[in-house]
């Protein structure tokens, strides 16, 4: 798998994306674990994880596009898909949370309309 004739630049980019992705995703999960109330936790994954995984996918895209020759489009597709669906998931979960009257943290300035 260690492809000798992969240009250093490309390899650097791939590596960068890998690390960046990992860190971003990790932060997202940390947020999920640490933040006070549900609505705050919601922010972590919807952005960070999506982006983080996105980075990984880009890395993979570059990697395989080089290895296989041609464009390995599946990753792009996945990324696109993630970015399209993640907000909706978040939206739905937020609705559910509102529906179930989840408590907001004490620092919340203005709560949801009916609370």
């Amino acid at each position: 798998m260690n492809n000798p004739d992969m240009p250093l630049l490309l390899e650097l980019i791939v590596t960068f994306f890998l690390i960046a992705g990992a860190i971003v995703a990790l932060i997202g999960s940390i947020g999920l674990a640490r933040l006070k109330d549900f609505y705050m936790r919601l922010h972590g994954p919807t952005k960070a994880s999506t982006l983080g995984v996105g980075c990984i996918l880009v890395a993979s895209l570059l990697n395989f596009s080089f290895l296989k020759g041609g464009v390995s489009v599946q990753e792009a597709l996945i990324t696109l898909f993630l970015f399209v669906t993640a907000p909706v998931s978040a939206h739905m979960m937020a609705k559910a949370a509102l529906h179930r009257r989840l408590k907001c943290s004490s620092r919340t300035r203005t709560g949801p309309p009916d609370q």
Partner: protein
């Protein structure tokens, strides 16, 4: 053949009677019925008489016709002295009974049924006595049990009749089963069921180690049939049958079958200590019990019934003694008994019909109103009492003299004479009683009909004939014996014997004294009857039927409790049983097994692997831990599924990963649908003990699986898979070997698999069709306004997702043959995408926008797959043979066409349709669609 005719003529007669009954139903054709019924017995009788000369020449006529040699069952008949004697009794008395019945049933429309049954019964009896093959005999043996069941239950409306019938069937039928066992053993010992062979194999039989068992089983059969104590209970209840039936059963048939069997097998099995003790003791007990109970019976038929029992005991006793003379006496008495018991029953019947009662305490002094009956009754009654010049007298005397000749064992040689004398005394007593008590003994006490109805004189004819018969026997014993009985005795004797010498018997003094004692004692006993009755009345009243019913009920109750204790409807218990059954034997066998660790080297564990394993275990444990909160448990379950997927992906099984993943989500969605109608939590209801037990079972099961996995993993692989890898491309035309296996090498499995999926879906459709759910889980304390059914944003996105997903599934479908993917996964992707539409837009909305008939789609899918398989026929190859070709067309470029793709299309269709059918029907449960409205 004509012997066979003897047996089967009565069947024809029965059929004839049946037809006449159907043609001429109703009470007013009894005469015709009787005439029809009389034909075949008469013919049989004549046939038998025509055989007499050949029999007297000492010949045993055997006719045999193969039926099922596999089990040694042949249609074989044997007519020798013994069977001739019995057959004659059966047919002869049968004729008389029919004549008697013609009057007895006058004006009853049950007559037809009687005549049918009685002839069937005759067949059965003739079959027993004429069979040469013991198995064949057993057929008739059981037939008698069945027909007697119907005869005793003849007046089914009465409770007694029903119970009596059941009782006799269970006892005699049970005996029949024992007999079956005995006969089979005998057949094993001898190597044949032909009586001729068996009679020739005495030493083989008696010396065989299985002899005792064999003998006991056979005797069990004989005793139950011949109402030997303690199986005598059923016989008295045969009297709840119409009198002709009782007369026939008691005198000539049924009860005599057992005696016949003993006599028949005596040469082969007799002459041993065991034979002697088993039979004599039983005979003695029966003799005494019967005689004693008979004395205290007030019911005429009851008295006669018990007297029969005691006489059977007597004959059994003689057979037990086993000497030639004893056999002679036995058969002689058997004939006598038949001759006097039948008329006595007929008398009872007449009295019964005339006075409407059978209770001797009420029936008194009938001599005035029924003198003829009295006169006819004198002879049989005297014969039963054993008064001088009567047949009974001789047979008693023969018995007494035989009892004196008993040498070994010691206990017998003094006990038996005394015993039989006392029994004789009793028999005198009850014989005197039945005569005197009925015809004299003062005035009748409030009888239903008084003065008694006139009964037609014709009823007396059979009685007279029989009475004369026993008179003849009494007066000319030697002649009768020589003419008819001696041949029978020869057939039952082990050694050839001289004719029985009645003149010698006449001179014998001790027996004479014994009979005198019996007579005098008996008379005295009768005179002192009233105080004795008084004493007897103190004794508790026992009805055998009740005892029997009680026993039956006890058995039933026991079985019910046992069954309920085991099969208590608790699934948990059943599953525990199954697990134990699965674990225990293997555990037992593998205790101390050391070969778990196989030869091949262990591979070192890598980080990801361990990590995945840990999460998998954690999530699984989490499910078990949180299963009381169902939704969280469900989430954890999908984590488990996800990591199973990852495991597949990790260990080079992309197809499995894809499948598992799609299946997982569908399964979770379905469970969630179901969960919306179920409680959200499971109560904690298992007790500590139960939990411990289950943990134990779970631990054992898991440990077992782990051990096996370890054992296999540490062994080198040696499989047939090399073939698949080698032939996938050349033979199957695909590089994705797994897919080629699925659609080609083992396409048949896949066909079955999608059939399962299809059936499951149709089944769900079928049994949710009429299911309508009222209440859904109430989500309490929720805010209003956020929960619109179909959020706009969700809808918009789902619409965009759908085409993409379809494209992807098309892609997965087409690449399947060469790359991970295939029809099944593609189908699930499509299904999931459409499910998303269901969720976003609602069932109705989606139903309006798509092909809504899923069942035909399932059918189509299955048909496509099957048709692909059948296609290969037309090129002469077996089902599911695949064909493919790589084409490289000028402009189009290189592409492949494979029948496997068509097969996969069938899979795809079925999967999509089945999955959606299930979802749609789950979804409709709460919608306005409601019950009845078919979805899909």
């Amino acid at each position: 053949m004509d012997i066979g005719l003897l047996v089967f003529l009565p069947v024809l007669g029965a059929i004839a009677s049946l037809l006449t009954r159907l043609k001429l139903p109703g009470p007013d054709h009894v005469q015709i019925h009787a005439l029809v019924a009389l034909i075949t017995p008469a013919i049989c009788l004549l046939l038998l008489l025509s055989f007499l000369p050949r029999i007297q020449s000492g010949e045993a006529i055997v006719y045999s016709l193969s039926w099922i040699p596999e089990i040694g069952l042949t249609l074989a008949f044997r007519l020798d002295g013994l069977s001739w004697l019995f057959a004659t009794l059966i047919t002869g008395i049968g004729c008389l009974i029919i004549i008697y019945a013609r009057y007895y049933f006058a004006g009853k429309d049950t007559a037809g049924r009687f005549f049918v049954l009685i002839q069937l019964f005759m067949t059965a009896m003739l079959g027993i006595v004429l069979s040469e093959n013991l198995l064949f005999m057993l057929v008739f043996w059981e037939l008698t049990s069945l027909v007697s069941f119907l005869l005793i239950g003849f007046t089914w409306s009465s409770r007694d009749a029903r119970r009596g019938a059941r009782m006799s069937l269970v006892i005699t039928g049970g005996g029949g089963l024992a007999l079956l066992g005995g006969i089979l053993l005998l057949g094993q010992i001898v190597g044949s069921y032909q009586i001729s062979d068996i009679l020739a194999a005495t030493d083989t039989i008696t010396s065989d180690s299985r002899y005792p068992l064999t003998l006991s089983l056979i005797l069990l059969g004989a005793f139950t049939k011949s109402a030997q104590a303690p199986f005598h209970l059923w016989l008295p209840h045969a009297m709840s049958a119409p009198t002709p039936v009782s007369a026939y059963l008691h005198s000539a048939t049924m009860v005599k079958a057992g005696l016949f069997l003993m006599a028949r097998l005596h040469p082969a099995m007799g002459d041993t200590e065991l034979w002697f003790s088993l039979i004599t003791v039983t005979g003695m007990v029966t003799l005494m019990v019967g005689a004693f109970v008979a004395m205290f019976m007030h019911d005429i038929k009851g008295l006669l019934a018990y007297s029969t029992i005691s006489h059977l005991g007597l004959i059994t006793l003689l057979i037990g003694m086993g000497s030639e003379m004893a056999m002679a006496a036995a058969l002689f008495h058997l004939v006598c008994h038949a001759l006097f018991k039948a008329p006595l029953f007929m008398m009872a019947g007449i009295v019964d019909q005339a006075t409407g009662s059978r209770d001797m305490r009420n029936i008194n002094g009938l001599w005035k109103s029924m003198p003829a009956l009295m006169l006819v009754t004198v002879i049989p009654a005297a014969a039963m009492a054993g008064l001088p010049l009567m047949s009974g007298y001789l047979s008693k005397k023969m018995l007494f003299s035989e009892s004196l000749l008993v040498s070994a064992p010691h206990w017998a040689n003094t006990l038996i004479p005394v015993w039989v004398t006392i029994a004789g005394l009793f028999s005198v007593a009850y014989s005197v009683r039945i005569f005197h008590n009925v015809f004299f003994n003062g005035k009748p006490v409030d009888l239903p009909h008084w003065p008694p109805k006139k009964k037609p004189a014709g009823m007396l004819i059979p009685m007279i004939i029989l009475a004369l018969g026993s008179l003849v026997v009494g007066l000319a014993p030697q002649a009768t014996y020589d003419a008819f009985i001696h041949l029978a005795v020869m057939a039952t004797a082990i050694t050839r014997l001289p004719l029985y010498d009645f003149s010698a018997l006449a001179d014998a003094r001790v027996p004479a004294m014994m009979s005198v004692i019996a007579m005098v004692g008996g008379l005295g006993f009768y005179l002192a009857r009233n105080p004795l009755f008084a004493i007897h009345r103190q004794l508790p009243e026992v009805d055998a039927k009740d005892i029997f019913e009680q026993i039956m009920l006890q058995c039933i109750r026991f079985s019910q409790t046992l069954v309920h204790r085991l099969e208590n409807g608790s699934l948990q218990r059943y599953l525990a049983f199954i697990l134990v059954a699965a674990i225990a034997p293997a555990l037992w066998m593998l205790i101390g097994y050391s070969g778990w660790r196989g030869p091949s080297a262990l591979t070192e564990a890598d980080a990801i692997g361990i990590f995945g394993a840990i999460i998998l275990c954690l999530s699984a444990l989490g499910v078990a831990l949180f299963h009381h909160q169902r939704l969280p448990a469900l989430l954890l379950l999908s984590v488990t599924g996800l990591f199973v997927t990852l495991a597949f992906a990790r260990f080079s099984a992309p197809d499995l990963a894809l499948t598992q993943l799609s299946v997982e989500v569908m399964a979770v969605v379905i469970m969630m649908l179901a969960l919306s109608f179920l409680p959200q939590t499971s109560p904690k209801e298992s007790g500590g003990g139960r939990v411990v037990r289950d943990l134990g079972l779970a631990g054992l099961a898991g440990g077992g699986v782990a051990l096996f996995a370890y054992a296999v993993l540490t062994r080198p692989a040696d499989t047939i898979s090399g073939y698949f890898l080698a032939n996938s491309v050349p033979g199957g035309g695909g590089t994705n070997v797994v897919n080629v296996i699925l659609v080609d090498f083992r396409g048949f499995d896949t066909l079955g698999e999608i059939t399962v999926l299809g059936i499951a879906a149709v089944a769900v459709f079928a049994f949710t069709r009429d299911l309508h759910l009222k209440e859904r889980v109430a989500s309490a304390g929720t805010a209003k306004g956020f929960a619109e059914p179909h959020p706009v944003i969700l809808q918009m996105i789902s619409r965009m997702v759908l085409p993409i997903a379809l494209l992807v599934s098309a892609y997965i479908f087409l690449r399947g043959h060469n790359m991970p993917g295939g029809g099944f996964i593609a189908g699930l992707v499509t299904a999931v995408a459409l499910t998303l539409q269901y969720m976003a837009g609602g069932l109705e909305w989606a139903q309006e926008r798509m092909l809504t008939r899923f069942r035909p789609l399932i059918g189509a899918g299955l048909l496509i797959a099957t048709a692909t398989g059948l296609g290969s026929w037309f090129v002469g190859y077996p089902f599911l043979t695949s064909a493919f070709s790589h084409m490289d067309w000028p402009i189009l470029g290189e592409f492949e066409l494979a029948t496997a793709l068509l097969f996969d299309l069938g899979v795809y269709t079925t999967v999509v349709a089945a999955t959606l059918l299930i979802l749609a029907n789950l979804g409709k449960l709460m919608t306005v669609a409601g019950p009845g409205k078919e979805v899909g």
